[in-house]
């Protein structure tokens, strides 16, 4: 029983770390721009497809594939902000309309990927998968990379947000957009910046997923839904909250395996989210709204 709990906790920590990365990639954009960027899922798909093409067909190395996913994700996110969201803001579109545009972009984009690349599942080859045993717990090399890669990116991002001029400016826009303007920050530029960074991160997160799972045009939806839950669980507007939300979600899903069969994970995620929304509506580390 104890060994099982240790194994489940390890699994929870592994998937929780990736959830945290995905949550932060979306939460950074949402906190700064207040755009409910559903098409984040499309960014993930596009970035991973670019890398799968480069690695699987053009024979690029896997590290180059990761780099390409980050670059393609970044460019795609920035383009979405410039071409879709900014014109909508200019005509004072409501947040509901912006959300609908985002949803529409996701559906159209996935269809386009389906038309161009077909429905068949693809693989991201080239990663040496083997098992690692550490005392009572075991995981694969892919899972080890999830853990190490997610935390490396999370810590880098948090250090940047807390200790650099532009990182601080982004937190300022997230905290109080009008005051940020008063001190001379251009919120439009910061929007581009968070779309670039968040989208590069979701591209990298997608690559970590693609090392284990097969790649299809809808690969982005499930992880980005998980990211929403992590953000709302941890508290909207809080980057450390999104990290905590991801970890709690991963642990709850997996530790639930002590009581329930594994395929109940999705239900557990919802129950955890629902309880937080009822008992702590602003999330675990949420910024109280005034």
């Amino acid at each position: 029983m104890l060994a099982l709990a240790a194994q489940l906790a390890t699994n929870g920590l592994i998937s929780g770390s990736l959830y945290a990365l995905l949550g932060v990639s979306w939460g950074l954009i949402f906190a700064t721009t207040k755009i409910f960027h559903f098409a984040h899922a499309l960014t993930l798909t596009v970035a991973v497809y670019a890398a799968v093409l480069a690695v699987g067909q053009w024979g690029w190395g896997l590290p180059a594939g990761f780099l390409l996913a980050a670059v393609v994700g970044c460019l795609f996110g920035v383009a979405t902000e410039r071409v879709v969201y900014r014109p909508l803001r200019r005509v004072n579109a409501t947040s509901l309309n912006i959300f609908l545009a985002s949803l529409g972009l996701l559906i159209a984009g996935e269809s386009a990927v389906l038309i161009v690349f077909g429905p068949q599942a693809r693989d991201l080859p080239g990663f040496p998968i083997s098992g690692i045993a550490l005392g009572p717990v075991a995981f694969t090399t892919v899972e080890g990379l999830w853990l190490a890669g997610s935390w490396a990116l999370l810590l880098l991002l948090i250090a940047w947000l807390w200790w650099t001029r532009y990182g601080r400016a982004i937190r300022a826009v997230a905290s109080n957009r009008e005051l940020a303007q008063c001190v001379g920050i251009d919120p439009e530029r910061m929007s581009l910046l968070v779309f670039g960074i968040g989208s590069a991160l979701v591209g990298l997160g997608g690559m970590l997923l693609a090392l284990r799972d097969t790649v299809s045009p809808t690969i982005g939806v499930q992880p980005v839904l998980t990211a929403f839950i992590a953000v709302f669980l941890g508290g909207i507007g809080s980057i450390p909250g999104a990290v905590l939300g991801g970890l709690v979600l991963g642990l709850a899903e997996n530790m639930g395996g002590l009581l329930l069969p594994g395929h109940w994970q999705g239900v557990i995620a919802f129950v955890v989210l629902f309880s937080v929304l009822v008992f702590r509506p602003s999330g675990l580390l949420g910024v109280r709204t005034r």
Binding site: N92, R165, R168, A169, R171, A172, S175, N176, E178, L179, A180, Q181, C182, V183, G184, I185, D186, G237, V287, R290
Partner: protein
């Protein structure tokens, strides 16, 4: 030449016009008060001058240059700084972060550091609270921080929107004295929105009064103070 000259300023929110052709000027070194009832358009005028709201018509000249179409960030870089009426600190950031952000438009870190020393000497309470989140400060301390943040970027014209709002009378006097001292020592020009006539007249050399989006009175502070009854003006 006036430091700030506003001509025929008209603006509003979305489709609702609030300000209908305001002309005002502020000379270098002056403290000028803009007064009037709630909803007269004082805050809206300040926001338009700072670039937070677009001009519908009219023009704004700052230090001889037209800035009516410039972004708010560009106006801040030229030395025009607004301290808003509400939410004038980043509540979930530390006092130290707030001060750094106050100097965001200052590209040279040595200038920013020197300015930080100056602001912390002037407002020592901020030094004691550096690591605290700004939202946990008292109302008076938050006002001081809001003022300190604006001073971090060495503005030439400070636009202050009701710095006395929500403060106890004793604190209001301290804030007003601080504003006057800063203006005197740093040759800072101030355009102040104020509802409280007595507080405004205590420091302002000149006064404008607004009603329903228009200016109705311009007078020197001394002439205003000499009037017995102010209320018929509002």
């Amino acid at each position: 030449m006036s430091l700030l000259a506003v001509e025929g300023l008209a603006t509003g929110y979305a489709k609702k016009q609030i300000v209908f052709g305001v002309d005002l000027r502020v000379e270098a070194g002056e403290i000028v008060a803009l007064m009037g009832h709630n909803g007269a358009g004082k805050t809206t005028s300040l926001k338009a001058i700072a670039g937070l709201l677009p001009l519908w018509s009219g023009g704004i000249i700052f230090d001889g240059e037209p800035i009516g179409q410039a972004t708010s960030a560009a106006r801040v870089r030229r030395g025009l700084s607004l301290v808003p009426q509400e939410r004038f600190v980043f509540a979930d950031l530390t006092v130290a972060d707030n001060l750094e952000l106050g100097a965001f438009s200052v590209a040279d870190p040595t200038i920013a550091a020197a300015q930080r020393e100056k602001v912390l000497t002037l407002l020592p309470v901020l030094a004691e609270r550096r690591r605290q989140l700004a939202g946990t400060l008292s109302g008076g301390e938050q006002r001081m921080l809001g003022l300190g943040m604006a001073l971090m970027r060495r503005p030439r014209l400070l636009l202050l929107d009701e710095p006395s709002l929500g403060l106890a009378p004793l604190l209001v006097e301290r804030i007003m004295e601080t504003i006057r001292d800063i203006a005197r020592h740093d040759n800072l020009t101030v355009l102040l929105v104020e509802q409280n006539v007595r507080h405004a007249l205590a420091i302002a050399q000149r006064v404008y009064i607004m009603r329903t989006g228009r200016l109705i009175v311009e007078e020197t502070g001394a002439a205003m103070a000499a009037r017995g009854e102010w209320w018929d003006l509002f």
